[in-house]
């Protein structure tokens, strides 16, 4: 038979468990805005030191990676453009190719992504910037590859992003050829690849070939026009002969994004900021070709200089070898009179 103290101990445990369970359930059934407010308040108060610690860790990691990337870029550029006057221009060109931030014309805030251990990380992302950096709700978030999502809630130093993997994500989009428009949403079917998107509402008559790039259309006012959303990989279904739904391979992966850009004042067409892979490859080949050309010109100039130097050397040597004219002996005037 259990003693009175054991019984009260068990009762106290049960009460505490039920209280915690009840609070968790209240959190679950309460409106989303309440949950986001509580989460923001916790991040700004009790959890602020922990978030700060993680932000420093992310910063250290990404800084190390960036330094490594920059060092390798610098090394390869130096290797390619050794002794060539176009080194500076070439470096600038490579930077323009690699850094999205140089290409985006609108205002943006760079942010570290603070990945969490929970299984739902990827649906929402925690960023290391908040209202203090100028971020506000509904700001679009992009990675160099394309669209990540939009800012869902903002606190002073952090913000939460709803990524394209979130069930409530929607973006108005069109194909890069301009022949089809629709709405992109997370893939919700029971068959097919995971982590995919679907391109809905495309009229049956507008067939979209596999491999077509789909961009945000700018309709709705949240996402600016021209951000890559994904690439068509096939047809998911056709509805009653009037609509086709296509499967998209997302352009950017929120699960592996380490740092992103928050567009704080999105406007205009951003398509030029996201050149396709083939365009980048073409530009790289072109730049390498330019370096080669500059190399050969420089080499030819060097050879000409060396040939001139050799000729000058040989002339100097020949001049040194040539015997000097014999001096005419001076004859005294009295000898010549004799």
């Amino acid at each position: 038979m259990a003693s009175a103290s054991e019984r009260s101990y068990t009762r106290r445990d049960t009460v505490m468990f039920l209280a915690c369970l009840g609070l968790a359930l209240i959190g679950l059934v309460s409106p989303d805005s309440w949950g986001l407010s509580i989460a923001a308040a916790l991040r700004e108060s009790v959890l602020a030191p922990l978030v700060w610690l993680q932000a420093r860790a992310e910063e250290g990691r990404t800084s190390r990676n960036r330094l490594r990337t920059i060092t390798s870029e610098r090394d390869s550029a130096s290797y390619l453009a050794q002794g060539i006057p176009s080194l500076l221009a070439e470096n600038e060109r490579l930077r323009q190719l690699l850094a999205l931030s140089h290409r985006i014309s609108t205002a943006y805030v760079a942010a570290e992504v603070l990945h969490q251990a929970q299984a739902t990380d990827g649906r929402t992302l925690l960023l290391s910037v908040g209202a203090r950096a100028g971020v506000s709700a509904f700001d679009p978030v992009v990675a160099p590859e394309g669209l990540i999502g939009m800012v869902l809630s903002v606190s002073e130093r952090t913000s939460v992003v709803m990524t394209w993997a979130h069930p409530e994500f929607r973006v108005s989009a069109f194909t890069v050829s301009g022949n089809a428009a629709g709405v992109v949403a997370p893939f919700a079917g029971s068959a097919g690849a995971e982590g995919a998107l679907e391109f809905r509402g495309v009229p049956y008559r507008d067939s979209v070939p596999v491999g077509t790039l789909v961009l945000s259309s700018g309709l709705g006012g949240v996402y600016p026009k021209g951000i890559p959303v994904g690439t068509v990989t096939g047809v998911i279904r056709e509805q009653a002969g009037w609509e086709r739904v296509y499967r998209l391979l997302p352009a950017a992966n929120p699960g592996s994004a380490a740092h992103v850009l928050v567009l704080v004042a999105p406007s205009g067409d951003l398509a030029r900021a996201f050149p396709s892979d083939s365009a980048i490859r073409a530009q790289r080949l072109d730049s390498i070709e330019r370096v080669r050309l500059a190399d050969s010109v420089a080499q030819a100039a060097r050879e000409v200089r060396e040939a001139r130097a050799r000729r000058a050397d040989s002339l100097a040597a020949a001049a040194a070898r040539k015997p000097s004219p014999r001096p005419v002996p001076a004859v005294p005037p009295e000898d010549s009179a004799r």
């Binding site: 468990f17 915690c20 929970q118």
Partner: protein
């Protein structure tokens, strides 16, 4: 009494170390989906050495932290951590909680159940749920269990006590 207080302080030091590892070292490790969940390891080690009520409260607080940092569905983390910590605390009465491998197994199974609850409560679709539970959760459970083993081996003397004794 003094010895018990010292032991508690030592354990508090270990838990603080786990918190620092979670927020400062974990981001520097390999993929975030499979890196050990240091907070969860700390929670399980605590839950297995304390009463069910205290374990539930600790689980609720850890879950609230997770919800504040990953607000995909606020409350899901708190619910899952509360339930898992409470069950872990009861479970130590059934199993040999002083055995190293049992501790590690508790961590692994607990993490998998935690993920199952979080995903189910936050309304994840069938296929993502299956992929998560079949691939990422077991990997994270394995790394977390291995890390729990390491912690228990290193701090074996300190973890031999029960906090509610």
């Amino acid at each position: 009494m003094i010895h018990a207080r010292a032991s508690r302080l030592q354990l508090a030091g270990v838990f603080l170390l786990l918190v620092v590892l979670h927020f400062y070292i974990r981001p520097r490790l390999w993929g975030p989906r499979v890196s050990p969940d240091f907070l969860f390891v700390g929670l399980m080690l605590y839950a297995m050495r304390s009463g069910p009520g205290a374990a539930a409260l600790a689980g609720f607080l850890v879950g609230l932290t997770a919800d504040a940092l990953t607000p995909a569905r606020f409350g899901a983390g708190a619910l899952a951590h509360t339930v898992v910590a409470y069950l872990a605390s009861w479970g130590r009465a059934v199993f040999f909680a002083d055995n190293l491998l049992v501790n590690a197994a508790f961590v692994a199974v607990g993490l998998w159940v935690r993920d199952l609850l979080v995903l189910a409560v936050s309304g994840t679709g069938d296929r993502p749920l299956l992929a998560e539970l079949a691939v990422y959760s077991p990997l994270q459970a394995l790394t977390s269990a291995l890390f729990a083993l390491l912690v228990l081996v290193v701090f074996r003397e300190w973890f031999s006590i029960r906090l509610d004794a």
